[in-house]
Symmetry: C3
Subunit: 256 residues, 3 copies
């Protein structure tokens, strides 16, 4: 559905992820747009069905832009996905993510276990921007977050969890090399944005995005000799991925 | 001629394009330099034959730097190429591009049809930073722009047009996958800069740059399985491209 | 040793290098972290054993952040590596690099011959950010720098020199294509950071990093058809590189 609609995905994201996230969105069939200037956020939000916020290389002016864009998105009833990169590693990150959440209007949060735990005030052992914890450890706090902020919460890791009002979906696709390419998580967040733009059920949009990226990852890994060729094959695979491939490989479980 | 001279190309460009544009310039045989600090622009402009300005991820401080660099370039009689990314998508972009043009000293503009139409005040239907229009639709307005600002105008798309005082050159090389790698247009702009540094005829420099990038694109596409391998093969092809390959494949038409 | 310890490497680096440096650190087995906000530097420095500073796309706010991070690193006795990109090309770059050095606490400097000569006040003929000089020409000034600032100095080029209090190590591995991928030098600096985090002897850490990146480069070049595939093969090779491969290929000389 992303390919047919080529939705515009407006990203205010980090410097490390910008290029790769744009290429992932293009490979998926979406149309990436990166814009952070306060002067143009109202207009850019107005033409984009979805906004992806990512605090990976945050600074005060960018945080201000994120709030301004979120405010415009909320007024215009646009969908918003938040990637709280490195939350728990500094008070500035934790506070920024919590203030964005408190402002309201975040449809989906995607983070690793440490980030989701830190967001929920649990004792996250964040080591920089990588998670040192299993995603399983964050499911209970993700449920709390989901309830508090009326949002879908994706906890990604060896198993990916999509936690929402009606229950929990666990996905077991993917490959360890996905953690060896920088910004893969950030790109997943942008992909959630692309699916949100074309699928009204937010939890289903998140599940579809996670399934697509992890299945592309495992197909690509089987053809690759390391993280360099993996990144290349990942983009090729994503561009050529079929519904049939996804259906055949999907390892998913739902519970209430 | 770029390979023999390895010209320094000074870029003030967007965050998404910086890495890829630098790699494209290196593959071409040029020497990329990215610098935007006001404190050093006078010196950086003085050592570079050409300046490439790109407003893709503009913000107020960067716009100020672009004006400062453009002013230095004009005083020092350096060549300047402008990429008005996303013009038409926001007033801030349109106004910035028009003010840079009005300041004078832009030798070449390169944009897609929507951007060129928006620059000329025509009814551009810009959808984010990608064009939803055929490049043919922008030729007439490009002629007007070229005349008004005494500049060469490149309208890129399925057919690429180089519009200049003496006429129009149409190039029909390239491959659709060029739109599936982010910053390919931005890299084309930087390549125009590299050719401007070694070729006194500005229109010929633009035609050479467009021919080089599109022919590298079609050769690379034939070896690739998707946008990931295409990007890799594009850089390899560009680094190995010969005059003979260009001569054999070039599909070009001139008219007055 | 990097793979076993997966050290966190905190980078305040340039926009061009961020993505590639992060991917190189991941391929090496380290854990990259990019953060530049003043608000969080004290905490980020406190959790990272090493800080890599790179002035490639410097601007006043980033310089301020670099000083703040360096100050925190010095107080906390963290290791710091400095990449003085483009020093000599502008007074702003030269002054920034010299002020960072004068502040104290830089363990290792890595630059090309022009940069090292410019840092030492010698007549550097910097052409943008690429060196137009042989690394041999900078060994004497590197010794002076090493003595003045009590730091290890790496001069990279066709031959790489690691200059330190006890002598000089010359390494003759690598491949010319390493200069055709942007940010390869910046990534080398981040790699020095990763080795500093796991090896107490600073000169040995620098030698190990340079040996690793240049040997990965020559193995990758042998499999590649140009700079695009070279970059991909470089990351694959780095991720799979063994101690045996390094031992077999290492061309090293030490003298006092």
């Amino acid at each position: 559905m992303v390919r047919e609609n080529a939705p515009l995905v407006h990203n205010i994201t980090n410097y490390v992820a910008m290029n790769f996230s744009a290429n992932v969105l293009l490979a998926l069939g979406a149309s990436p747009l990166m814009a952070h200037a306060e002067e143009e956020l109202e207009e850019i939000v107005s033409i984009s069905p979805v906004l992806a916020l990512n605090i990976g290389t945050l600074s005060a002016p960018w945080v201000k832009s994120m709030h301004k864009a979120l405010d415009a998105a909320r007024r215009r009833e646009k969908l918003v996905v938040l990637d709280p990169v490195g939350v728990g590693a500094s008070k500035f990150r934790t506070q920024t993510a919590l203030e964005l959440l408190a402002a309201g209007g975040i449809s989906v949060i995607r983070g690793n276990a440490s980030e989701i735990r830190a967001l929920a005030g649990a004792d996250g052992r964040t080591k920089g921007v990588d998670s040192s914890e299993s995603s399983d450890s964050a499911v209970a706090v993700a449920q709390r977050l989901s309830h508090t902020y009326n949002t879908v919460v994706c906890v990604t890791g060896a198993t990916d969890y999509v936690v929402h009002a009606e229950g929990i979906t666990a996905l077991k696709n993917g490959h360890p090399w996905m953690t060896k390419v920088t910004a893969m998580g950030c790109a997943a967040t942008s992909m959630v944005g692309a699916f949100l733009a074309v699928e009204a059920d937010r939890a289903l949009a998140a599940v579809s995005a996670i399934a697509t990226i992890t299945i592309a990852g495992e197909i690509a890994a089987a053809k690759s000799g390391g993280p360099g060729s993996f990144q290349v094959n990942f983009l090729d695979t994503l561009a050529n991925l079929t519904e049939t491939q996804i259906a055949e490989r999907l390892k998913v479980e739902h519970w209430k």
